[in-house]
Subunit: 244 residues, 2 copies
């Protein structure tokens, strides 16, 4: 049983903030399931704290008391283990397959769900505008499980990225064409926007193909689908074409 | 400015629990947006408390102080208004169109997202097993906005309901047939199951058509899609057929 030092507590606590995650190149994951999945996915641990001995085969674990664990956990109810992982360097990969781009998605739960969807649908790359929530945000990590380690995620200037890409680009927009009636290519970039405001004018102006999921209910209000559920339907539509 | 009486506070607080919601036939909605949407959708208010005068045209509002509002709000940060609505009686409606059935969905956030999806896709009825989370749970109400008032929701014995129905029934199951390759009818019941365990054996045994969303990623773990994202893709697949 060890006592977690003040400097360790200070380091871990600082990792709630993006600027310190970037400074130290570390992020926090909690609970045995998430930690195990990240280890299996090949991420390098920096340090692991647990109230249970021998929980993780692959790595040196520091045994701590429940009280010590509570001090370093970000969760309301600490879940027996806290681990610090190194943020992996983003891989250079070819511009092929389906690429998802997010413009200013702010909610960590939505980004978490979207990352799991990318993993499920074999999206080759996730591009995020700089003002999209950080994917190493603790809430995103808890929501994505191992998926985050299997996906290539890059934060970019979205205008520049879209301008420079040679792939066909599709933007999800309320007034777009019925997605069910459109022929969707195998290699493409598809953009989804902010929870409240959608895709910014600047980015939209760069895109010719605008697509929308038609509404079937007799709703009068101008409701929109949540960005994560819209993403699931759009990725499914692109992928069903490769099946036919 | 009125003081909320002890008996009013007691009544409102009791409505966090399903048994008291059923006993009094009332549920709680908070925040001007949700309350307005429910009024517009035609639900009857029992009582409305607000720190702002004249916020709701259609109903008599009791002006309260911020402190009073905090006492009756279920939210961490009370949002200027709390309203009690009468639980509407479920309408008898014909067994036509697309009916969604849920078997033991437990998470209020998931049910909230699913109700909004049903509204979007014009699902004619939502059937819930008795052990599905109550749709008048405060967290569900906050997540669904006005959608809950536009949808016909019934809690039933799911085994009996499925046995007695004359519509073709589809069950979402990991080992089911590729949904993209299946011809899906306009009038049908589609069942989704519990977050951890899927659909119960008992219900599954009653269903011939099992469908699955194929996995495209090179994932080795036996991950599954979240029930709300799976619902969005499945409803989209059923509805796209009616478009063609």
């Amino acid at each position: 049983m060890i006592l977690v030092s003040k400097s360790q507590i200070k380091l871990i606590s600082s990792l709630q903030q993006k600027k310190y995650r970037n400074k130290w190149g570390l992020f926090v994951a909690e609970g045995p399931k998430v930690i195990k999945e990240l280890i299996v996915a090949g991420l390098k641990t920096h340090s692991v704290y647990s109230t249970i001995e021998g929980l993780f085969d692959l790595t040196e674990t520091q045994l701590v008391s429940e009280k010590e664990l509570e001090k370093i956990s970000f969760l309301k109810n600490a879940n027996n283990s806290v681990a610090l992982f190194e943020i992996p360097k983003s891989k250079v990969c070819s511009e092929k397959g389906l690429i998802l781009a997010l413009d200013a998605v702010r909610d960590p739960g939505n980004l978490g769900t979207i990352i799991r969807l990318c993993d499920w649908f074999g999206v080759s790359k996730l591009i995020c505008s700089h003002d999209t929530v950080d994917c190493y945000n603790p809430k995103v990590i808890q929501a994505t499980m191992g998926s985050i380690a299997r996906l290539n995620i890059q934060y970019v200037n979205l205008n520049e990225y879209i301008s420079e890409s040679k792939l066909p680009v599709f933007a999800s927009e309320m007034k777009g064409e019925n997605i069910y009636k459109k022929r969707l290519p195998e290699n493409a970039i598809v953009i989804l926007g902010n929870e409240a405001n959608g895709i910014s004018e600047e980015v939209l102006n760069l895109v010719k193909n605008k697509i929308a999921i038609p509404q079937f209910g007799k709703v009068q209000e101008t409701e929109s689908l949540n960005v994560a559920t819209a993403t699931s339907i759009i990725l499914s539509e692109f992928k069903r074409f490769t099946e036919q």
